[in-house]
């Protein structure tokens, strides 16, 4: 205590200590069974995607001519084979790799670009903001399937005369998904940054001489991040569906290399070997639900914090 403080200025110290201690810490939201199930499934799928190639089992692109279209729980093919003799379990493993990584990379890169552009637009406003908002709106007005379809058929058109490598198709697919993600997350980031940027602590930081990008990094980004993160998880789910839809339309990744592609290949054999369609469909469904649930959990946690603030 400073020596010159008067009795009346001492009271608030005591008051402050008391009230500060009475204030409860932010309570963590209750973790539901859905949260544990979705975390477990995301963990499982990520494990498959990362370590799939080193797990024992048949190769995903090898056709077993002696066991075409066997049902699941076969002694050497745990989830059966397709009508062409490809092992389902190996296919799903390899598909996880493509489907999950394509979506994660697309959301990560698209989300970063979108957030950066959205936050800077909200922070600097003016003509830059108008331009960015206009570009976002134009991008959002193009149906994402049509956009991806156009990009893939122009940049990675493949037929017998002009074969295109798998790597190129995957790259173009990721680029088209990034273009889809940028305005979605960009708008979320811009909206949230507009709200936080008008808070007085940003003005306070400016008035004490902080530089613009320091303020964005120190004050705006940490406050905007939870909102982006929550929507980012939902976006991973949507991107997996877009990837599946593209494959079903025949312009995704060919040859049963992703879940959507497996679905597309198995579509014609649904009467003879239904597991060929149901298994990848279930994997897609579970993964999308798990990411949505996880995103919801993040969002609820954010909302509870927000109501405290």
């Amino acid at each position: 205590m400073p020596e010159n403080s008067t009795p009346e200025t001492e009271t608030p110290l005591e008051a402050s200590v008391e009230t500060a201690e009475e204030t409860p810490k932010v309570k963590k939201p209750r973790k539901t069974i859905g949260f544990y199930l979705s975390s477990a499934w995301i963990g499982f799928v990520l494990f498959l995607a990362t370590f799939g190639p080193w797990l024992p089992g048949p190769a995903w692109d090898e056709s077993f001519y002696d066991s075409l279209g066997v049902a699941p729980f076969h002694h050497s093919h745990i989830l059966g084979t397709t009508m062409d003799g490809y092992d389902m379990w190996a296919g799903l493993q390899h598909g996880a790799r493509i489907s999950i990584f394509v979506s994660l990379i697309a959301v990560l890169i698209g989300g970063s670009i979108g957030s950066f552009v959205g936050i800077t637009a909200a922070y600097f406003r003016g003509k830059y903001d108008l331009l960015i908002t206009m570009i976002f709106n134009v991008m959002l007005s193009i149906p994402n399937l049509v956009l991806s379809l156009a990009l893939l058929s122009v940049l990675a058109y493949s037929d017998e005369a002009h074969p295109v490598s798998l790597a190129r198709r995957v790259t173009v697919l990721i680029v088209s998904l990034i273009i889809v993600i940028i305005p979605i997350l960009g708008r979320i980031a811009r909206g949230s940054a507009l709200q936080w940027g008008s808070r007085e602590f940003v003005l306070a930081s400016k008035s004490m001489g902080s530089k613009n990008f320091f303020i964005i990094r120190k004050h705006i980004l940490p406050n905007v991040a939870p909102a982006i993160l929550a929507i980012g998880f939902l976006a991973v789910g949507s991107v997996i569906i877009v990837e599946g839809s593209l494959a079903l339309l025949g312009i995704g990744i060919p040859g049963g290399a992703s879940w959507g592609s497996m679905l597309a290949n198995g579509r014609g054999n649904i009467e003879f070997s239904p597991h060929e369609v149901y298994l990848p469909a279930l994997f897609i469904a579970f993964t999308v639900i798990a990411f949505n649930w996880f995103g919801d959990y993040v969002r609820v946690q954010l909302d509870k914090r927000e109501s405290k603030i």
Partner: protein, 330 residues
């Protein structure tokens, strides 16, 4: 009234801040311009507390921010410590920032909810590289103690764990971190309970005495202003109405707008009759302010002259200036 003029300037004093013909306008659309502050001039002598009062929307907060060049004013000059802020480069302006700080109205919104108090206070020190981590930590404790907060208790807490009064103490501590010359307090107590208001005002007064600060105190509460200021400037719709020391202003009100403001301060006496001649209605839109005196549309004494000619500030008694063609008679 609500006019312009510079009769109240004191060039001979130890002037910290001199504002001349400051104008702030915001463009809404092509031909809609909000004239938030129009030709305001005043000066600030070292150690003084200038109160700027007026009702909501009269441009007092905008004036405060324009002094700090956040954003830069549309025209006019702001001379702070003999530097013309409006013509400084970005870098030179940044170098001036530590000397002029601001305290905001909303105490909770002034602090980043994601940062603990120690980080909030460390920010200005880190931005200006004032010492190493050990020195910064010592400085934080010193600032918290000066603001009557217990460092051991509050350091690691975040803004949402505090009451409004405590947040405002932290804001005051932060504004003192860079040893400023002048602090602009933008309605620092209007969001607080009356009992807490008194604590914060006492704290501001203590800090002012201890650190030799010069304050601009923006408020709409004349009772608060009377307690803290050495000079009061009454604003109406972006213009200056009256400038006087507080006792003089209350005792010998000259401007009809100030009279209405003073009359609207509640007096806790049930037997006192309610004054009925207070002004009516809302202030006119700053998009299209009245000609001549901006207060004439609500003034009981308005004449044709008021519509034609804008009143200039003139001295009616020593240190008491009013911009009115028909000042209140004794």
């Amino acid at each position: 009234m609500a006019g312009s003029g510079k009769a109240h300037m004191r060039p001979e004093g130890d002037v910290v801040l001199e504002v001349n013909d400051l104008t702030v306008e915001f463009k809404l659309s092509k031909n809609q311009i909000v004239k938030a502050v129009s030709g305001v001039s005043f000066d600030l002598i070292r150690g003084e507390t200038l109160a700027i009062v007026g009702e909501s929307g009269c441009g007092k907060s905008t004036l405060g921010k324009a002094i700090l060049q956040l954003p830069k004013p549309t025209s006019g000059s702001v001379n702070f410590l003999s530097k013309e802020l409006t013509s400084l480069s970005k870098r030179e302006l940044r170098d001036m920032r530590p000397a002029m700080q601001m305290i905001f109205q909303d105490p909770v919104s002034s602090l980043d909810p994601r940062l603990p108090v120690s980080e909030v206070l460390a920010e200005p020190l880190r931005v200006w590289k004032r010492g190493n981590e050990v020195e910064i930590n010592a400085k934080i404790d010193e600032l918290l103690l000066a603001a009557n907060l217990d460092p051991a208790v509050v350091r690691d807490r975040r803004s949402y764990e505090f009451s409004g009064g405590q947040c405002q103490r932290i804001s005051i501590a932060r504004s003192l971190a860079l040893d400023p010359t002048m602090i602009i307090c933008d309605e620092p107590v209007s969001a607080l309970d009356v009992s807490v208001q008194a604590q914060i005002l006492n704290l501001l007064q203590d800090m002012k005495d201890r650190y030799g600060l010069t304050l601009i105190f923006i408020s709409h509460d004349l009772a608060v202003v009377k307690a803290v200021s050495t000079r009061v400037m009454v604003m109406y719709l972006g213009k200056v109405c009256e400038v006087a020391p507080p006792e003089e202003l209350y005792r010998n009100t000259k401007h009809h707008y100030t009279k209405a403001l003073v009359g609207s301060v509640p007096i806790p006496d049930p037997d006192r009759p309610i004054s009925g001649n207070l002004i009516q209605g809302e202030p006119p839109s700053p998009l299209n302010p009245p000609s001549g005196c901006r207060f004439r549309t609500r003034c009981p004494q308005a004449s044709d002259l008021c519509a034609q000619e804008e009143p200039q500030l003139r001295e009616v008694s020593v240190g008491h200036f009013v911009a009115c063609h028909h000042p209140v008679a004794e």
